[in-house]
Each structure stands twice: as structure tokens, then as C-alpha cells.
């Protein structure tokens, strides 16, 4: 770095942002630098005379400051382990370690800049065309090409951070905190609205922040109003990234360390006041370090007190450019030439090796300069309006797009709405703010009218129909200055030139949307905010069409790059535990994730748990089973509709198994329902199906059968549920229950209510998913742990053992009981699930009835069967395929385990019915490619097919 470096910092400027009493030290590409608090990385480096910040994306050309703001394409740096930091926006912090992204071997001698030597420019589609064939070489190409892409690096050991989200419900959101945004927000708040004012920069002010001394007084006044008017919340360093239906807005709040927080906002009205973005001018050499937009130069001078160069050529086509000339003079920059297109002059090309040295003008004159500042006009950042359904229209007199048809709840003000002097713009903004508040109020009235209750004594709000007249703003005049007589860069972040766009059009990619994708113009980190109108203008020019005919590309969310963490937030899905969880944890249960529930998979030895149930007694926590309390005269009608089997004659005290099908005949759930007394029933569902079955009950009761007298209450977590299973379960339970448990007094498939271990109102079902004598207890949840512990204590001499989900799966598989969703899938109709015995086709109606009638008539294509591998030691993994002689698929293994009871492997399988005959031998293809033989069993149950044990 040269010694003159430090002299780029100017004396104190009015309104400067930096705090000269607080020096800040940091490193850039391993060299130490010092700036001041309030400096951005870019301004601090520019003050130190740094001209080259990065290398460009494709050609690795040296690049310097262009806009000195968020949208500067040339200022993407790595800060510590954070890639893609915008050096024109991020403020410096003490000790920050800043690097140009992916510069190899160094910023000044980038080996990859060979790219720009092999051809003047690489043709668009070069990579596609060159490397597509031969295809086997693609991995080799890819590994080389990857080194040519600069994209920063991330530290994979970065600790996981959870990003919180917040919600806001303001009346009015003003997107943009420039003069118009501030005036709008203040006006809306003064009309009584609660306002959220969102500004991208660290402070309010917009373009007045860098507009020099003349605007300082007005800026202070407007900012004071916005900050002190009651009802305005200001978010700086924040951006509205998206607008969705009914003004659902995403606002990203950034902090200086790079972390982000998402605020989800429901606004009643949105005022878009994003200001305007200065567009670059397209000419040869327009990316040389030293070529800068006037906004960039004025930011450096007025905001950061940095002299952007020493000898300048200024291209100015508007008042902002003219004012900038004065700013540069004040900063001590020698103005070598002022080129005014309004008088017909142009800049033709910029010349220099690695940085600007000379400027060639349309007059033929060549001027020596280290700074070329352009002020040719503006791009309207219409993103939020696009997202609100607007299709902005081009106005040639103003050389930019304007809003056309905004929905009622979106307004626009400031430069995006029109031109005019400060007074006109502020009047427009103030009227827009008042109108936004009025529409927000009317929206509130509409919302309130739909809420049935008001606070005591409150009067319902009334509409305000006196529309505020918003004055029209003039448009232009601005010159349609997009490209000079030479070709230059249109998209700096993607290295796309006007020549590339011309080639794309010649190759047939002649619409803006096609040319954009083919050349990747507007598809880089800036997403077109700087370069869209130039791209459209060049495409129009290449097509010999107007910009209005060519149209613009559609902007989609997000408006600004957003970290995925901010969008992801933290997981809000609840995790459910049964009230018995403390016992499980204390006894070594291995946790199993079962939907929303955490359940004990086993307590160390699932086979021993199986043997305990078959030989003595075991208890399992089945709390997650879905439970619905049904009450009313018409419960049987409801059950008849939902289940495939018959329910009208279920007696009090009886329990019945039932299967449910959807109207396509596919099995969706199963469980038992018991009749507790005349009009009270308890229905159980699979744990995964609990919510869906409940909603189905409600749907039937609310939509198709409002005449039924049934009330439904979900009671899944009101009860702790314990299954006591095994030949000695009756003996154990008898020690604690006041219910007659004798085979005659409490038969199989019956329900009783009684007191267990001193706890009243326990529902006892005598059912048998495990195939053993068993009792399922539904205990008021708060007493579940007590009953469980009492069962363990009372049964210690019986060898009672807790068993988990794995043992239960083995037990039910030994018994041939299906699990809906495991032994069936989304196409398995009842007759294919082995449930044909339950289907009562003579019922007048039930869900799925016609399909099941047809399935029965034509025969089930697939059937559920039990299989036993010929080699008892082989357990084919679940989902192994069953194949025929020509390797055609005949079915699949749906469940498989080693059976401790039988000392052999057992399976359930879905297999084509013609191959499902008992004693057939099937070939099972395992995932490792080996084929084993398995025999079809005569019954689904491998153990106790007669069901004697459960009925004992």
C-alpha cells in the first residue's frame, strides 16, 4: 500500500457517521488497518487507500468500490468464519479478520485471471457448452471448475445456534426509512396508526444521509419526528424480505455480528418506500477499480469522510450528479472533466491496467484520472410491489419502471412513486402515510366485525370513508442512458457483459426471462437490484424492441439474502412423554421416537421381556394409544359409519375390535371400542392415528351428520394406559383391583370400571394384542405412575417385568396381529389386510363400503400372510422383496423378527394372492442380494392360532 493511503480520510464532514474518538483495528488479507467506529469495512479500507477489494466471479478481474453500500457487487468478503459479508454495509469491529473471498494465490496476482486472457470474454453458456461432453469426464471438470468459483468458506465446527422468531401486528409497515418513509411513518402515526418503520441501513435517513450539508437540517428534523412520534417502532439494519397474501411480511433484523432474526408481521397496510437504486452505466472498462457510482462517491465523502480519488471525471445526467460534483470539489478531488449527457456528451471507455488511469470521452478527448464517477439514472426496486401482484410498467420519460395496479392494502411513496422536488415528495409521503393509516383503520373495523365479542363497555369501531387525496408526482425527465457505444459489464456479480446478452439474443434466448437464465445476468447475489434495467435495456436493444415491449423479470422473495437459520427458527413440535416417563428413565429404558412420543423401546433385553410375558406377567406403558370418549344416543351409528364391522348390538360392558377404512377402502386405523354404559363409549386408536380419527369424528358430526347426538372428547393424555399381560396377569391384578376378574365375571373382550391400587375410575379392558391373557388399564393420568409402581411391587414375587415397544412388536408378530401402516400401506384395502372377516357388506353404509364390495367380488390382488423362513436362523429384513422365478416382484416382507417363543424367525408379508396359498414356498430377496426360501403359514398367528391363551 502506498503512503498516500492515510490521506484519503477527510477533515470532519457535516453529518458524518464515524466517531473519530474511537479508532477500531482490524485485518484485511492479513494486513493490519485502522478505521473509526461507524466505518464500514469498505469505508475504512478506502480511507486507507485500498482500491482493490475482490476479484470478479468468472474472469477474476480486480474490483473496487462501486456503490459503497449493501448492493455493492464488488465488496463480498469473508469475516472470520462468516462468508458473503457485504463490506459496504457491515461496520468494522475491533479485531475483525477480513478476507477477500477465495482469492488464490493473492488479490494482486490472481492465477485464475487467466480466464480473461484466453478470450476477451467467455461466451455465455461457455461452461455448459464446453464441459457437457464427454459425460464421464464431468467429475474431473467439476473438480477443476469448483476452484474457479468464489464463494467464501464456512467453518463446519461452528456451534449450533437457535434463531428465535417474533411476531408483530402493526397497523402500518413502512418499508424504507428514507425521507419519504420517515414522513409517511410519522403521518400514519399521527393519524393514530401503530407503525413499524423498517430501514436497511443502521440509521434512518436514506439518501439524505449522503446528500451533503444542505440536507442535514431537514434530515435531523424528519428523523426526530420518526423517532419520537408515539406509535412508531423503528427497526434499523432490517429489511422487509417478502410480502405475501394479506400483507404477511417477513422482516429480517440483522445484528452487526451477522446473526439474523425473523419477525413475522401481519400488517394492515404496507407502504413501500424503498427509494431508488442508482444504476451503473454500461461501457468498456466500467468495472475498473476507480469507476464508481455517484451514490458510492457521495457515501464515501459525506457519510464516512473519505476522499474517493484525487483526479476525477464525472458523468452526470441529473441533479444528484450535479450536487455530487460539488461534494467532490469540497473533498478536494480535482475535477478533470464533467461530462453531461444532457448536452449530448458520453463516456466511451475507461482505460487502465488493474485500475483506472484514463477516460475516453465521446468528444475524442482522453482524460487522465484515477476516479470516474457516473450518475446516469435510477432503477426502481419494485420487489415488494411485484410480490403484491403488481406488474410495474416502464415509463420512457423517466427511464424506469413504476407501480401500476396495487392492491388496496399496499401503497408506494418516495422515488419509487415518482420524481419531483423534496417538497412534492414529502407531501406525497405524508398523504400516503395518512391514507395508509385510514385503510389500516378500516381493515381493523372489518377484522373487529368478525370477532363476536368486545371488551365490556367498548363501542365497535366505525369506518372512516374520507379518503385522503394523494397528490400526483411528476415522472422524469430522465434520459434513457443505459449503454454507451462500447460494451461493458451489466451484471458485476455474475460477470455478464452487454455483449453476452447480445449473443444470448442472437442464439435465440430473446426474452428477458430466457436471456437472464442463459447468461445468469441478475441471478447473482444482487438478484438484479442494481442491474435489472440495464439488462432489460440491452436485451431490448438487441431485439430492436422497446423496454416496455421487453418487460422486466419478476421479482420473488426474498428481497435480500437471508440466512437459513433465521428462516428455520427453532423446532416448535412438542415432544410427548407419558406420566410414567420418570420410571422408564430410572430403569434404563432405551428411548424410541414414535411420532410425537418418546417411548421405551426396551429395558435392556427385549427377548427376556417377551419370555416374561409368555411365561409369567409383564406390564407395558401404552399411554400413547389414542383415546376418544364418545357419548350420546347415536354413538352406534357413528361407529357403524367409521368401522367396517358391526356395532349396533355391542352390549354394555363389551369391547370389540374394529378396523377403519377410508372411502377408497384402504385401511387407515384400527383399535378397540368399549361400551362403558348405556350412552358412554371409549374408543381407542393407533397412537399415530389419534389426531386424524378425532378430526374424522368431528367432520362426520359437523358436516354430514349434524343430526347425530354424539359428543366426542379426546382423552388420550387424560389417561395413563398400562397393559398387564401374561398368564399370571389375572393373579397380579387381583391383588390390586376391586373388580371381579374371574373368567366368568370378566370375560374376554369385556370392559369394567373399578378401583386399582386405590385409584377409582380406572377403565379395564380385557383384550389381547400380545395374544396372552391381558388387561389394559386406563388410569386417570396423575395416578398412572402410582399404579405402575404398585403393579411392579405387588408382582415382584411373580417375576413381573416391564416390557417395551420391541417386545410388544415381537409378541404381536408371533400372534399375527397386523400394525396398520407397517403391514399395510397407502393402497392396502381391507381384504388385503387380512381383515375380510370383519367387513360387514350387508350394513347399509360405512366408509369404504362400495370399494370393499368390489374388492370382495373381484378378489383381493394382494394378501397378508405369515411366513416362516425355511432356515429358522435367517430373519429377512423388513421390506425384503418376495420374487418369482423370473425375479418379478410378488410381494414384500412387512414385519420380521426372531421369535424367542418359537426359537425361529417369523414374518408377516404382503404377497400376490395367487402365491399366498398355505404351504407355498416363496423366494425372499434380501437387501444383500441373497435369496432365502420361506413357507406360507396356514394361519396368521405363529403362536396359539386358536387364541386359547388370550381367552384363559
Amino acid at each position: 500500500m502506498s503512503r498516500q493511503a492515510t490521506h484519503m480520510r477527510l477533515p470532519v464532514q457535516p453529518g458524518e457517521r464515524i466517531d473519530r474518538s474511537r479508532p477500531v483495528s482490524f485485518r484485511f488479507n492479513n494486513r493490519p488497518y485502522t478505521g473509526y467506529a461507524g466505518d464500514t469495512i469498505a469505508s475504512a479500507l478506502a480511507a486507507n487507500g485500498v482500491k482493490v477489494f475482490t476479484r470478479s466471479f468468472k474472469y477474476h478481474r480486480p474490483r473496487g468500490i462501486l456503490t459503497a453500500g449493501w448492493l455493492d457487487p464488488n465488496l463480498m468478503v469473508q469475516v472470520g468464519d462468516e462468508p458473503n459479508v457485504r463490506a459496504g454495509h457491515r461496520e468494522i469491529s475491533e479485531g475483525a479478520d477480513v478476507h477477500s473471498q477465495d482469492i488464490w494465490p493473492s488479490l494482486r496476482f490472481d492465477a485464475k485471471s487467466v480466464n480473461s486472457a484466453i478470450g476477451r470474454f467467455l461466451a455465455p453458456g461457455f461452461y455448459y457448452k464446453t464441459f457437457i461432453k464427454p459425460q464421464p469426464l464431468w467429475p474431473a471438470y467439476e473438480s477443476v471448475l469448483k476452484r474457479f468459483v468464489h464463494s467464501g468458506s464456512i467453518d463446519l465446527s461452528t456451534p449450533r445456534v437457535e434463531h428465535d422468531k417474533t411476531y408483530a401486528h402493526p397497523d402500518v409497515v413502512v418499508a424504507g426509512g428514507g425521507p419519504a418513509g420517515m414522513a409517511s411513518a410519522t403521518a400514519a402515526a399521527r393519524s393514530g396508526a401503530r407503525v413499524l418503520l423498517v430501514e436497511d441501513e443502521p440509521e434512518l435517513g436514506g439518501h439524505w444521509l449522503w446528500s451533503g450539508p444542505a440536507k442535514q437540517e431537514d434530515l435531523v428534523r424528519l428523523r426526530e419526528d420518526a423517532l419520537t412520534t408515539p406509535g412508531i417502532e423503528v427497526l434499523t439494519n432490517s429489511v422487509v424480505i417478502a410480502r405475501y397474501d394479506d400483507n404477511w411480511l417477513g422482516v429480517i433484523v440483522r445484528s452487526q455480528d451477522g446473526s439474523e432474526r425473523l419477525v413475522k408481521v401481519r400488517a394492515k397496510t404496507l407502504v413501500a418506500a424503498p427509494g431508488l437504486v442508482e444504476r451503473p452505466y454500461v461501457f468498456e472498462g466500467n468495472d475498473l477499480p476507480g469507476v464508481m457510482l455517484m451514490t458510492g462517491a457521495r457515501r464515501l465523502v459525506n457519510r464516512y469522510a473519505v476522499r474517493p480519488g484525487t483526479r476525477a471525471v464525472v458523468l452526470t445526467a441529473n441533479a444528484h450528479g450535479d450536487a455530487g460534483v460539488e461534494d467532490l470539489r469540497r473533498a478536494g478531488v480535482a475535477i478533470e472533466a464533467v461530462v453531461d449527457p444532457r448536452k449530448g456528451d458520453r463516456v466511451v471507455r475507461a482505460l487502465g491496467r488493474g485500475r483506472l488511469e484514463r477516460v475516453e470521452l465521446s468528444t475524442g478527448q482522453v482524460v487522465e484520472a484515477d476516479l470516474l464517477v457516473t450518475a446516469v439514472g435510477w432503477t426502481a426496486p419494485t420487489s415488494l410491489l411485484n410480490m403484491a401482484g403488481d406488474r410495474p410498467v416502464y415509463c420512457p420519460e423517466a427511464a424506469r419502471f413504476f407501480p401500476s395496479q396495487l392492491p388496496d392494502d399496499v401503497l408506494a411513496t418516495g422515488g419509487i412513486a415518482g420524481d419531483g422536488d423534496d417538497r412534492e415528495l414529502l407531501e406525497h409521503a405524508t398523504a400516503t402515510g395518512r391514507e395508509a393509516a385510514r385503510r389500516a383503520h378500516n381493515r381493523l373495523v372489518a377484522l373487529a366485525s368478525r370477532v363476536p365479542t368486545l371488551p365490556d363497555g367498548a363501542e365497535p369501531p366505525t369506518r372512516d370513508d374520507s379518503e385522503i387525496e394523494i397528490p400526483d408526482l411528476p415522472r422524469g425527465p430522465h434520459l434513457e442512458l443505459f449503454r454507451s457505444s462500447t460494451h461493458g459489464f451489466v451484471d458485476f456479480s455474475e460477470d455478464v457483459s452487454s455483449k453476452d446478452l447480445h449473443s444470448a439474443v442472437r442464439e435465440g434466448y430473446d426474452s428477458a426471462e430466457l436471456a437472464k437464465r442463459y447468461t445468469t445476468a441478475t441471478m447473482g447475489p444482487l438478484q438484479g437490484k442494481l442491474e435489472t434495467i440495464n439488462a432489460v435495456a440491452v436485451i431490448a436493444e438487441a431485439n430492436s424492441a422497446t423496454i416496455a415491449e421487453t418487460g422486466t423479470t419478476v421479482w420473488r422473495p426474498p428481497y435480500a439474502p437471508t440466512t437459513l437459520g433465521a428462516l428455520a427458527g427453532r423446532a416448535l413440535d412438542p415432544t410427548r412423554y407419558s406420566p410414567l416417563q420418570p420410571w422408564h428413565e430410572a430403569h434404563g429404558a432405551r428411548p424410541l421416537v414414535a411420532g410425537a412420543w418418546i417411548r421405551p423401546e426396551h429395558y435392556g433385553d427385549p427377548e427376556a421381556e417377551v419370555r416374561a410375558v409368555r411365561r409369567g406377567v409383564g406390564i407395558i406403558d401404552v399411554t400413547p394409544i389414542g383415546k376418544l370418549h364418545l357419548q350420546g344416543r347415536d354413538v352406534p351409528a357413528l361407529l357403524e359409519q367409521m368401522y367396517v364391522n358391526r356395532w349396533q348390538r355391542l352390549g354394555v360392558g363389551r369391547v370389540r375390535y374394529g378396523a377403519m377404512c377410508a372411502d377408497d377402502g384402504v385401511v387407515i386405523d384400527d383399535g378397540v371400542t368399549g361400551r362403558l354404559d348405556e350412552e358412554r363409549y371409549l374408543m381407542s386408536t393407533t397412537s399415530g392415528g389419534a389426531a386424524a380419527v378425532w378430526e374424522w369424528v368431528e367432520e362426520l358430526l359437523q358436516t354430514s351428520h349434524p343430526e347425530w347426538d354424539v359428543t366426542c372428547t379426546p382423552v388420550t393424555t387424560s389417561y395413563a394406559s398400562i397393559n398387564v399381560a401374561g398368564p399370571r396377569s389375572r393373579e397380579l391384578l387381583a391383588r390390586l383391583a376391586d373388580v371381579d376378574l374371574s373368567p366368568d365375571g370378566f370375560g374376554y373382550m369385556n370392559v369394567r370400571t373399578g378401583t386399582v391400587a386405590g385409584v377409582p375410575d380406572v377403565v379395564l379392558w380385557r383384550i389381547g394384542f400380545t395374544g396372552e391373557l391381558s388387561f389394559e388399564l386406563h388410569i386417570p393420568a396423575g395416578y398412572g405412575l402410582h399404579v405402575w409402581e404398585e403393579l411392579m411391587r405387588a408382582g415382584s414375587d411373580l417375576g413381573v417385568r416391564a416390557f417395551g415397544v420391541e417386545a410388544q412388536r415381537v409378541l404381536r408378530l408371533e400372534k399375527g396381529h397386523l400394525i396398520v401402516g407397517q403391514d399395510t400401506d397407502g393402497l392396502t384395502q381391507a381384504f388385503s389386510a387380512g381383515l375380510g372377516w370383519a367387513v360387514k357388506l350387508d350394513k347399509p353404509d360405512f366408509s369404504g363400503a362400495p370399494e370393499l364390495r368390489w374388492q370382495k367380488a373381484s378378489g383381493a390382488v394382494s394378501s397378508l400372510v405369515s411366513l416362516q423362513p425355511v432356515d429358522p436362523a435367517v430373519v429377512p429384513p423388513e421390506a425384503s422383496q418376495i420374487i418369482g422365478p423370473r425375479s418379478e416382484i410378488l410381494g414384500r416382507v412387512t414385519s420380521s423378527r426372531h421369535s424367542p417363543t418359537l426359537g425361529r424367525s417369523i414374518c408377516l408379508a404382503q404377497v400376490l394372492t395367487e402365491h399366498a396359498a398355505p404351504d407355498s414356498t416363496l423366494r425372499v430377496l434380501q437387501p444383500d442380494g441373497s435369496v432365502v426360501e420361506a413357507r406360507v403359514c396356514p394361519e396368521l398367528a405363529h403362536v396359539d392360532p386358536e387364541g386359547e391363551r388370550a381367552r384363559a
Binding site: D245, W248, V451, E695, E699, P706, W854
Partner: protein
């Protein structure tokens, strides 16, 4: 995210609701044909424009209701209790096999 006007709760975020799709009449299961039943199961009119559809306020009052929505711009012109609900009224437009040429559906 759009607002949806629950007949019982007023305007709420649509993420609170479950979507049931367009309203359709369940054919009489005793007399239905395969063609008619499967049109009921699988075929939808899917208009670009006015659509009568079912919703469920899952994270709210847990009530079912009907909405008339323009599928081109998500404007909801009406929400109401279910048609057969005592507060509802019956003027639905429903897809039937006759609306759709089921024979042209390739399988």
C-alpha cells in the same frame, strides 16, 4: 400467508386451518357405480376461479366450515358453516362424474 375468515373465530392465519379440498357430494354407496364413485374419490374440477371448498380450523375452534375462494388470487368471498349444519345452506357446486370425461383418464 393469507387470512381466512373462520365463521366462528374471524380472521386467522391460514396456517391454523386444515384444507379439505373442493366440496363434493358423496354418492349413495348402495347404488353407486365404479365410475361415479371413483370420480368422487379422485377427480376434482380444479377451476381457475371460483371454488367452493372445505376447511377445518385445526388450531382454533376445531370447527369445519366452507369457503368460496377465487383460486387465481386467493380472494375469499364467503365463509359459512357447513351446508348441512343447522346454520348452513345448501347451494353447492360439486364435481360429479358427469362433469369430467372419466373415460379419457389414462391409467
Amino acid at each position: 400467508m393469507m387470512h381466512l375468515d373462520c365463521p366462528w373465530c374471524g380472521y386467522r392465519n391460514v396456517s391454523e386451518f386444515g384444507y379439505l379440498g373442493e366440496l363434493r357430494e358423496r354418492p349413495d354407496p348402495a347404488t353407486t357405480t365404479r365410475e361415479e364413485w371413483r370420480a368422487y374419490l379422485y377427480l376434482r374440477r380444479n377451476p381457475a376461479g371460483r371454488l367452493e371448498e372445505g376447511w377445518y380450523h385445526r388450531a382454533g375452534c376445531r370447527r369445519y366450515f366452507e369457503a368460496v375462494r377465487d383460486t387465481t388470487d386467493n380472494t375469499v368471498s364467503e365463509t359459512r358453516p357447513p351446508t348441512r349444519h343447522p346454520d348452513g345452506h345448501d347451494e353447492g357446486e360439486h364435481a360429479t362424474a358427469g362433469d369430467l370425461d372419466v373415460t379419457s383418464v389414462s391409467v
